[in-house]
Symmetry: D2
Subunit: 422 residues, 4 copies
């Protein structure tokens, strides 16, 4: 496939220089279905990016689409702030019946605004309010969002610099494997907490991703997560799992922390929770933490009812039995085998792969290689992005609903792209 540079004029002329993905993929997309996107020039792309995790059920999933159109057709409440609506009730009931009860999770549900960073801001505000402390511990290469509260616990120096003010109240600790396993887990963190002279402001909470998606597909071991949960309990800190990218089945189970058998105090969900790619997010927390006053945190789009409709439909369609989880593991295995083969085929690249469920990373010794591979893949009709502080990790994030054939096709394009940039 050859790509003719599309007419981007209005984007270039009018849109801010801050635009990003449209630069990696110089096409104007028009339609999308399942794992395929179509640009206005008739090109087809296989999508291994899935809206950075917002499209676990694929583009314009027909089951959800039906529910959404029905709702709009019948003039269901589209906007109503956080009024009670039948759509919200249906979602809450589905979430309770399909997600919380079967997992014995006691959470209250907050609608903090429809984006991930809204959910993180609400989580941090609540943790600070409950504990009466300001400090939050985050981890190296964490990504939690772009508003000031979330940005302060995000690791990326380039993003942080955008704040224009010194970001304070957050202290980074080493994520799992960060120091190449040369240091016992939490040795440093716990010493700081136990020592009255350490200089660490006692944290209200710890915020963690189980797999760091933006940070480079860094996978925490279950035992590391259990160690962290125990540490939080020993030292009276709340544990916040930011499951915005890794939740909703990305790693297999609905929540990414289920594998480790832990129950965080606070959980953030966004991206795929709405199912159809519409803005929606949740902040979940233990009921005893629900010390909010009515309206203490608010926002215009908290109650994005069309999202509630597709969210409830997605839960009903995919999470009432264990099929989705099983399928994700199977697809994950398929991806892992292909990545292992790529690494083996090119020992000179010093490549290695890592991942869980259907999120995989491929890192090369040469830190600019991942970008080159992604660029070549795009030319070959595959959408795949990079992550990590220097974009040094190729990031595979296909829809969970991808077929084995599509997955295979994408992996073969990827192998070819690696080969052709070698």
């Amino acid at each position: 496939m050859t790509i003719t540079p599309p007419a981007l004029s209005v984007f270039e002329a009018l849109e801010s220089e801050v635009r990003s993905y449209c630069r990696s993929w110089p096409a104007v997309f028009d339609r999308a279905q399942g794992s395929r996107m179509y640009d206005e020039d008739g090109h087809t792309y296989l999508d291994f990016f899935a809206g950075a995790g917002a499209l676990n059920y694929g583009h314009n999933n027909p089951v959800l689409k039906r529910a959404l159109i029905d709702y709009i057709e019948r003039d269901g409440v589209t906007h109503g702030l956080d009024m009670g609506t039948t759509a919200k009730r249906a979602f809450l009931e589905a979430f309770q019946d399909v997600v919380l009860r079967p997992r014995d999770l006691p959470y209250k549900v907050m609608f903090p605004g429809p984006t991930g960073t809204n959910a993180v801001e609400a989580a941090l505000k609540l943790a600070r309010k409950v504990k009466g402390r300001e400090a939050i511990v985050s981890f190296t290469n964490a990504f939690h969002g772009m508003s000031l509260g979330s940005l302060a616990v995000t690791g990326n120096a380039f993003k942080r610099a955008g704040a224009g003010i010194p970001l304070v109240h957050g202290t980074p600790m080493p994520f799992d494997h960060y120091l190449d396993d040369r240091v016992p887990d939490f040795l440093w963190f716990e010493r700081l907490l136990a020592d009255q002279g350490s200089g660490l402001n006692t944290p209200a909470a710890v915020i963690v991703e189980t797999v760091q998606g933006e940070g480079g597909i860094n996978v925490a071991r279950p035992e590391w997560l259990r160690g962290l949960a125990a540490l939080c309990e020993r030292h009276d800190m709340l544990l916040i799992v930011d499951d915005i990218q890794m939740g909703c089945g990305r790693t297999g189970a609905f929540f990414s922390f289920e594998e480790a058998g832990i129950t965080p105090d606070i959980v953030t969900l966004s991206k795929s929770i709405g199912g159809y790619g519409l803005p929606m997010s949740l902040t979940l927390f233990r009921p005893e933490l629900d010390v909010w006053e009515p309206g203490e945190h608010n926002g215009t789009f908290r109650g994005n009812n069309p999202s509630f409709v597709t969210a409830a439909a997605a839960l009903d369609a995919y999470w009432t039995d264990g099929q989705m989880e099983k399928q994700t593991f199977a697809r994950g295995q398929q991806a892992e085998e292909a990545l292992r083969a790529i690494c083996a085929e090119h020992p000179e690249l010093g490549a290695h792969h890592r991942g869980r469920g259907l999120v995989w990373g491929l890192e090369f010794a040469d830190r600019s290689r991942a970008s080159e591979v992604a660029r070549r893949a795009f030319e070959l009709g595959l959408l795949v992005e990079t992550s990590g502080p220097e974009g040094e990790v190729l990031k595979l994030l296909p829809a969970l609903t991808i077929s084995p054939e599509e997955l295979d096709e994408g992996l073969r394009i990827l192998a070819r792209a690696v080969r052709e940039t070698a």
Copy 2:
């Protein structure tokens, strides 16, 4: 009309205590059309709230609805992060042709994430980055959002306390009329700026609403806004107009600052920009301020394509000629007359009204009266909210598309509610 307490169980059991509007209006809404909402028990409500300004074109506006359903039916890209899409292009072109060019506004357009607070956070980050200073001046009773950056420039003490950390880098200045016109405009502010010993950290920017919606329907005079713009220019501060609630025609013109004849350096838009009540927001700025690096500010739902579709449709339907603006002034006059009559009818209440376009406030000497009136109005089938630091102002925010008859009906209910709580 009598109200049977609806079955709120799942809301009460599962949703966080932070929920708010659903407490004022104990109904479960199911459908909505134009200026009417319908609950599941068959009750009809006239809506003078309009999604806190997110529904300037009414609920489920049929023109926009058609465009939205068409887009969804044909599998237009729903989610694609900030990729180039045909829907985004159509919106950008419409925004340029219908909004920016006719007003000679040179702005670049940024999609900062789909909520108002995302737009404000981006505006503040950009202003700080451009000026290399941290301080922002805001105004008494300002409201700009709930994430940490926006909250720091928000006045409400109750909301601020939710932050859990001291909110810094913001200094409040008196909004127009704040000191009962006993002090010349900007006397204090400019003295602080001119005096090297004043102790004010030199501000990067000033952020202002032309009419403070949450703060109590406080209306700045055009000459005050012009004075502020001149002050900003004299003292090398950027002027940010937060037009999230008052933009998109709420005060008559598309932008609320047009009346004053000023051109802010940065403008935030959200709420009604998407037209249909779907999450969307914009940060606009002079091209010379576009110093963002690609991806320096990002977010999953920046490119909410369904919103782009309804946003473009709304611009085409309502803003290609001057009809909407004219109609808003006419409706506003109608509202003002009714409010004047209410005040005149009850001299003992010490009530007075204020507003512009189709945003009006009614304040009573007894600061708890507004809430009582709103409660009674709800019982009588009218949705109307309060604003101000103590909820002491009744806030009228009907859809701009409301018919004169509906408006009259609502104003009569209001008059009755005032009477029946007297």
Copy 3:
């Protein structure tokens, strides 16, 4: 008198560029007595600066000198941290008997470290600890010190910039006369406090100088100070009077706030409290505020015993009757008359004077004139400094022990210097 440029080489070669007074007065001083200083080249200078208020009893006051030498000769404890010493006891007893009891002041005494900024830091820490709030209100053109806590409540932009971090938690309010009496006292401040939507973080305390020495000899009226004290009480804020420069009799009474008849919650003293110009400072506070834990604030030189000796001797020598206060008023009158005459003599200079007790300022329409006058005065053998944000105010601060003849001599030199720079 002609001045030969002295050999400043080691100062210039070795001392940091931050050095300041030695630049205004390019001499190398060797001896000093009373109101006279002598440089190594045999020149004599009359001192209208008095160590910026640290030498209210003159240089090397013989009464204090005797006590100091005796103490050193007999090997009294020089350094002992904050151990109990006979010298400290003698000072505490004198301070209680001569200062606190006759004025019915209930204060506890804290030795916070021997400099003014130590005293202010301790005052701010205590106020925040007591009230559990972070915000402090200070005033335009305030000066409280150079360490980070004190600097954050200091007005001067040049000094603030030296911090290298954004100074937060402080908000400036207008000092008396700041807005040329066009605004009622505390109208703005109290409105901010009363309004839950104002955006002012509720202050723990207000810190104020009764006369701003560094800020330009700005004199607060007694009724303004009383208004401030009443405001603090109404709004549950602690009132801190920083009496470092204006205390110890500079304005007449021992404390500068006595004239207003108020009792601040916290008072800081330094400069002349040690009597002999040796480092010493005190933080005084109402006993119910003494919530410090033992050692919660410490420092190596809290117990500067030689200072305790001269401090006690000064209290005994000057404050057991009302003579000192009477004499200060008389000298002040003498100064005021001379300044009035200077202003009258040169109507073209647009000069005006202001002051209280023995602190006086002379301001010229031309803001660089004060520096020129000071420079010429130095050539004529008078040490006098400038103050104000641009050094636009000539600042007269002679020793309280100056004789009428010396004062007259200095004032005549001053008049001549004004004349000769006109």
Copy 4:
């Protein structure tokens, strides 16, 4: 010796609860000479505390006393702010000739105010100004002072809590041996610096003590200090050595960092620099860092001339040859042997000792033991304090001028006190 409780009434009645050392040692001291202190009841105490390091040359050292009295007698300038004085010149020349030149140290000298915390505040301000960054890295169990800037880089949680505001802009790193040598030096620190995604705000500077005096007599190895200096150079951070307690010969050489062969960018000195226990401090820095504007940092007691006199005399008397350093090593060896014997005598106490030069610590397995030993030692006529976050380390800090016999006497009392609390 038996101790009669002295009459502390005025201390208890009038002095703030914050007083500390006077609680450990309930005596009223009157005179002091060399290593002995005398209370008003005729008791004699051997001093192993030396003003927390401010009395390296002993109490009221006769050589310095002579110079001091001569200066006072002849009316040398006592107070003159930072004017040029003959006393200041003499000190600067001595410091240059005796200290800087022989060590080939290129430093400029700043008088930042006469206390240690003034010196640290100035160092931090300068580092931030030079680098244009806010963040400072400090170490676990660091102690740098009580004003807000210094406190933010101090480790002790109890002291930090006294700030009343969240202390930010500082991040602690592990001091040498902190993690029991289970982690390679600087592995964590350098990884954070090298990784653009680490979340560490790039530091302007690192501040370190070579031996942590308040933190528990933690001794950094020379190779660790060299590693730190190299790290700072690699990552463009300034290295600040806080030599306030360990400088002026405490560890042998004049500066404690000489042993490691490093040249810090900035050095703070206080405590014993004045020689006689009078307040004085210095901030030294490489000439290219001297970007201060005149007067950008100021303070009333910067030029404490009596201290300059005793400081110069001390340099002349003790530092023109290598005797002092040699003697300190000899005394240190004597102390170490005694401590080793104490540890060996009581294996059941799990005691171990550590130190350098004439600063030694003795830690017991039972963390309350050190306080008990210090209390018993006081009863036996020895002044010795504890340090460490829980006061768990007995801290030996005799004057450097102590005689071998006095040192032996004190060590024997200590051994007895250990025995009698066992």
